[in-house]
């Protein structure tokens, strides 16, 4: 089938030009984090990687990512050996910046390749829509903000995820899909959020017979089990031999952190905290008790134990239970009907559940929801209806990551560009649904999108003029509460769509 212009490669080239121009842009401490990891993996023996703590940014990703850094460091050695010294903290020569920024662009090629696989795996009438979706992921403002300005390697890892999802489309490559996802888990453990969907889907579609759930396909089970075991052995084996697994686990899962991150990720707990804030003002009038010790702490924006002044406290156990509950609901449907579309839907809902109810969720984790969702967003107009508020909310919620004035035009103009382009394009591409629309969801989402304009204007401009440096938490609180409404709204909408289609 002929290529539909513009091709993914063309988009990637033009996007790369913009990303290279962004080299001198603001970079967060994550830049130093990754430089430190380059230094650790390059200059220390394997068994010291997870113990090294010269820098406060210790290695807290699983071993495959450490191996990945080690490979990068082999190139870095040729560029500027000074960046590979563990004690060389905050080192950012222009060679280091060029190298690290460029490595993000280069490893993102995996995403381009995976998206091309996705387009090629769609046929006929869907191909056009698939290409639009693929380009929307490639040009995602989330990836631009997080990877190319803030600094991380998500592009590469979402490339692995999408490749794995595409492999799950065909029965013959199901095994490879599972193995690739296992490898991804060994690279960044945040993808554990999506693991339940994989587990159920592979169990039902690969390990059990398609005809009856009571007939187990033993050979498949052995292949999958052995493969996954081999991958985990490759990742953790060397460390297990030295008995370092508990140390790694303590690095990967730091449970001492609070419910909400310093800046509230737009989830249920952001709304909960917001209500708590409001109740502090109202409590004396309606006679609710206020805990004085909680007033000055956590929800004001410090990492640590979160305690609420009026509402009951939330424990990790509650978060965990809620997450599992809301993951289980779509998984049941997936188990009964293990189609690829259901798989992507369930995966997206798993991402939603853990993002919305998880403990100490990062705002960046919203990519876990929006990227899988993009793949099915234009299945029909009802999916698109649920996608639209998410597209707006998730990207607005990322804005506080970049707070320097020079990057303000980039993040806003790029996001508005992307939203106009793809929301209009998707609107034209999405076919009508065979089922009726439900209530006034479309109207609400249009209203919601409109509200974002005064909100961004207030948070980035008006607040500064009115209050200067004081009440700095206000814009952040408004942004995350606003975004939380959008994410929760789109979640509810998508749940309805998922279960009625």
């Amino acid at each position: 089938m002929a290529e539909i212009p513009p091709s993914l490669a063309q988009c990637a080239i033009v996007a790369a030009a913009l990303k290279i121009l962004l080299f001198p842009a603001y970079k967060s401490t994550d830049f130093e984090v990754h430089r430190n990891w380059l230094a650790i993996t390059n200059s220390l023996p394997l068994w010291e990687w997870y113990y090294e703590k010269t820098s406060e940014w210790t290695l807290d990703y699983p071993p495959f990512f450490a191996y990945f850094e080690w490979i990068l460091s082999q190139v870095a050695k040729l560029v500027d050996p000074a960046m590979l010294r563990v004690y060389n903290l905050e080192y950012d020569s222009w060679q280091t910046i060029y190298f690290q920024r460029f490595s993000v662009i280069a490893t993102e090629l995996l995403l381009v390749y995976a998206l091309q696989m996705f387009v090629d795996s769609s046929h006929g009438a869907n191909k056009r829509a698939a290409q639009a979706a693929a380009i929307s992921v490639l040009l995602s403002p989330g990836l631009l903000i997080i990877d190319h300005i803030h600094f991380q390697y998500n592009g590469c890892m979402y490339g692995m995820l999408i490749a794995s999802l595409v492999l799950a489309r065909k029965r013959s490559t199901l095994l490879w899909s599972g193995l690739l996802f296992a490898a991804l888990l060994c690279m960044k453990h945040i993808y554990l959020y999506l693991a339940p969907a994989y587990f159920v889907f592979l169990l039902r579609a690969y390990c059990l017979s398609p005809k009856s759930i009571f007939r187990i396909q033993f050979l498949n089970c052995v292949k999958l089990g052995a493969g996954i075991a081999a991958i985990f052995a490759a990742a953790f084996g060397p460390f297990a031999l030295k008995g370092q697994i508990p140390q790694i686990l303590s690095r990967l899962f730091p449970f001492s952190r609070g419910l909400c991150h310093a800046y509230w990720a737009p989830n249920i707990w952001a709304m909960y905290s917001f209500v708590d804030r409001v109740l502090i003002a109202l409590a004396p009038r309606i006679g609710l008790p206020v805990r004085a010790d909680a007033l000055q702490s956590a929800t004001r924006g410090l990492v640590g134990d979160t305690s609420f002044a009026v509402l009951p406290d939330v424990t990790p156990r509650v978060c965990f239970a809620l997450t599992l509950l809301f993951q289980a609901i779509p998984l049941l449907k997936l188990f009964i009907q293990p189609t690829w579309d259901n798989f992507i839907g369930a995966l997206t809902l798993c991402g939603y559940a853990s993002f919305l109810f998880g403990w100490h969720v990062h705002e960046k984790a919203v990519l876990l929801v929006i990227i899988p969702f993009s793949l099915i967003a234009i299945k029909d107009r009802r999916y698109l209806g649920a996608f639209r508020p998410l597209a707006v909310a998730s990207h607005v919620s990322l804005f506080p990551l970049l707070f320097t004035p020079a990057e303000f035009p980039i993040k806003t103009v790029y996001t508005v560009f992307w939203l106009i382009l793809f929301l209009v394009a998707f609107d034209r591409l999405a076919p009508a649904s065979s089922r009726p629309r439900f209530f006034l969801f479309d109207r609400f989402s249009t209203l919601y999108i409109t509200v974002s304009i005064p909100l961004i204007a207030y948070c980035s401009l008006v607040h500064g003029i009115l209050f200067g440096k004081s009440y700095e938490f206000l814009p952040l609180m408004f942004t995350s509460s606003y975004s939380a409404i959008g994410v929760v709204g789109s979640w509810v909408g998508f749940m309805v769509v998922h279960f009625t289609s």
């Binding site: 513009p6 080239i13 033009v14 121009l21 080299f23 040009l139 103009v413 609107d427 034209r428 076919p431």
Partner: protein, 597 residues
């Protein structure tokens, strides 16, 4: 948006989709022969806009184009500017910032006199007013940015953001609307579809030389260029008076607009004479021009008089008797230095003196024009300055005479960009005191050709692309000096890629039909120049020049650049003669052959 059938549309990046999904192919309404015949996009920029074919509404397309162009500009602005942390004098950035300081902190009568050694104001008054406005706004944000004396050489990062913002805002208020309107009018005049016009618009806005000089290196050329485009656009619309007003504004912003002055003059004059003599039109244009100049100078004149009344001296640093006028000293005989009008005369003479530095040499630094290239062969310094000045004047006149004669005899709208480009090339190559950044002036009208008839055809793209890439290449030494090689590389290659030009693609040189001599001549000429440019880059990267000739690479750059620009001049002139049909057909056959040899 009904129907489960997938629409044939594929919108995406920079794509500006159509209003009606069913209309992308075989749209029967208006005339769109080009798109319906072409099955696949010929170059990447066309591919990006491909899903927007058949678009009815430009209002969906335009915001996306402007946002994309703005993003690249702002991102390029994150890089350094000229003179960043380079004491003692810093660079153009400091000059512009200093003018904001001078204009906001000092009375208007001192603007052209204040401490001329430190980036004294040497642009016409509109630049001064623009600096005043920017300075006032900036002082609201942080008064220390433009404090007198203490702010010199400031490298506050927040100030950089503000300064970058003033460039981009000025450009989006003047240049961008002017180009958008020009492209719309010119493409309609040439019978192009909206879609082709949109492609041309993106190509013009992404022109690398302008972005590199204004948004990276730092200047406000686009304001002046914008006024010139607005003037041309008014000519297209038949509004000659507005054309005069806009052109005076361009001149009032930057004297460099004089490169175009001849063409503006001959076109407007030709309009008053052909097809029949129209005296009232001539008088109106003359009156409006004079009035515009008067308005332009009014604040300066009134300010000078007002400052005298307030007892403010324009030159507080000088005690004793008034120094003589810097120019036109003969006037002093007729003037009474104590008369009320004398400060005004002094002010205006000083302004002219600052704007036209006759005392400087034939060329500044190394610039890819005729004189600098000739200097390699014959040392021009040994000749007396008046002789050189006269030589430059004659050569310039000789080079600009042919295109302007054509424009005068055939004052046709569709010839405007070609005539402007040829005239500006003439000025750039032969005139006095040329700066390498001046190459923006001939490039602007030449790039506008993309929106004309056959503007996106291979031969036009090849030549417009060649001129632009060569232009950027001649500015490389300037950019390299302030560590801007990376944005140079990215923006130039990106533009070359979008338009399918070398070094990213050879597509423009592969012709489907016909093997004319002129085609092969183009291939040969462009091929050798592109090879020379690539070879030069490799040389300059790998080898350092011999110690006794530290400027060797720059001189080589200048030589190649001057030769290439001369060809661009000839190409513009040849096309102008060809399209104006002023000469008998048979002449062209000969000329074409002559070009090959």
């Amino acid at each position: 948006m009904a129907g489960p059938s997938p629409s044939p549309h594929k919108p995406r990046r920079k794509a500006k989709r159509s209003a009606d999904p069913t209309s992308s192919f075989g749209n029967s309404g208006s005339v769109r022969p080009v798109e319906t015949l072409v099955r696949a996009p010929a170059f990447p920029l066309a591919a990006f806009l491909w899903p927007a074919r058949g678009t009815v509404s430009q209002w969906e397309l335009l915001p996306l184009i402007l946002m994309a162009a703005g993003l690249f500009r702002w991102a390029a602005g994150l890089w350094g500017y000229s003179g960043f942390e380079r004491p003692p004098m810093f660079g153009d950035y400091e000059a512009q910032r200093h003018w904001m300081e001078v204009t906001t902190q000092l009375p208007i009568s001192q603007w052209y006199f204040h401490d001329l050694e430190w980036w004294g104001l040497d642009y016409p008054p509109l630049t001064a007013y623009h600096s005043w406005l920017c300075g006032k706004i900036g002082s609201l944000i942080d008064p220390s940015w433009f404090a007198l004396f203490s702010s010199r050489g400031s490298h506050d990062p927040a100030l950089k953001v503000f300064m970058r913002a003033t460039v981009i805002v000025s450009e989006y208020l003047i240049y961008v609307p002017a180009v958008v309107i020009f492209v719309r009018r010119y493409s309609r005049l040439s019978g192009l579809t909206n879609w082709s016009a949109a492609v041309a618009l993106v190509a013009i806005l992404m022109q690398p030389a302008t972005i590199l000089i204004d948004h990276v290196h730092f200047q406000y050329n686009t304001v002046m260029l914008g006024f010139v485009v607005a003037s041309m656009s008014s000519m297209l619309a038949g509004r000659n008076l507005w054309a005069a007003v806009f052109f005076v504004a361009a001149l009032g912003f930057k004297q460099m607009a004089l490169y175009y002055a001849f063409s503006v003059f001959t076109y407007l004059l030709g309009n008053c004479i052909f097809p029949r003599v129209n005296i009232p039109r001539f008088v109106a244009i003359a009156a409006v021009t004079a009035a515009s100049f008067a308005i332009l100078l009014l604040p300066l004149v009134v300010g000078a008089l007002y400052d005298v009344r307030r007892g403010i001296d324009s030159r507080p640093d000088i005690d004793g008797p008034r120094p003589p006028l810097p120019l036109f000293q003969g006037l002093a005989v007729y003037l009474d230095t104590e008369a009320f009008y004398y400060p005004v005369v002094e002010q205006l003479v000083q302004m002219v003196h600052r704007i036209f530095p006759f005392a400087r040499g034939l060329f500044e630094d190394k610039v890819a024009n005729f004189w600098c290239a000739l200097n390699v062969v014959i040392k021009l310094k040994k000749y007396p300055a008046p002789l050189l000045q006269r030589g430059a004047l004659l050569a310039t006149l000789a080079s600009i005479l042919p295109p302007n004669l054509v424009l005068f005899l055939r004052p046709r709208k569709d010839l405007l960009p070609l005539a402007f480009a040829a005239t500006a090339w003439g000025f750039f190559l032969f005139s006095y005191q040329v700066h390498e950044k001046s190459v923006l002036l001939p490039l602007m009208p030449m790039t506008l050709l993309l929106a004309g008839s056959h503007g996106l055809s291979k031969s036009t793209r090849a030549w417009v692309g060649f001129a632009n890439i060569l232009g950027c290449w001649t500015m490389f030494p300037l950019l390299q000096r302030v560590d801007l090689a990376m944005p140079y590389t990215v923006l130039t290659l990106l533009w070359a890629y979008l338009l399918g030009l070398p070094p990213t693609s050879l597509g423009v040189y592969l012709q489907e039909t016909g093997n004319t001599w002129s085609h092969w001549a183009t291939v040969f000429i462009h091929g050798s120049f592109y090879l020379a440019m690539a070879f030069w880059h490799v040389l300059a990267l790998v080898l350092s020049p011999p110690p006794d000739k530290p400027d060797l690479w720059v001189v080589a750059n200048v030589g190649v650049g001057a030769a290439g620009f001369s060809l661009c001049y000839l190409w513009c002139l040849w096309r102008l003669l060809n399209e104006s049909e002023i000469l008998p057909r048979s002449w062209f056959r000969r000329k074409e052959k002559a070009k090959v040899q």
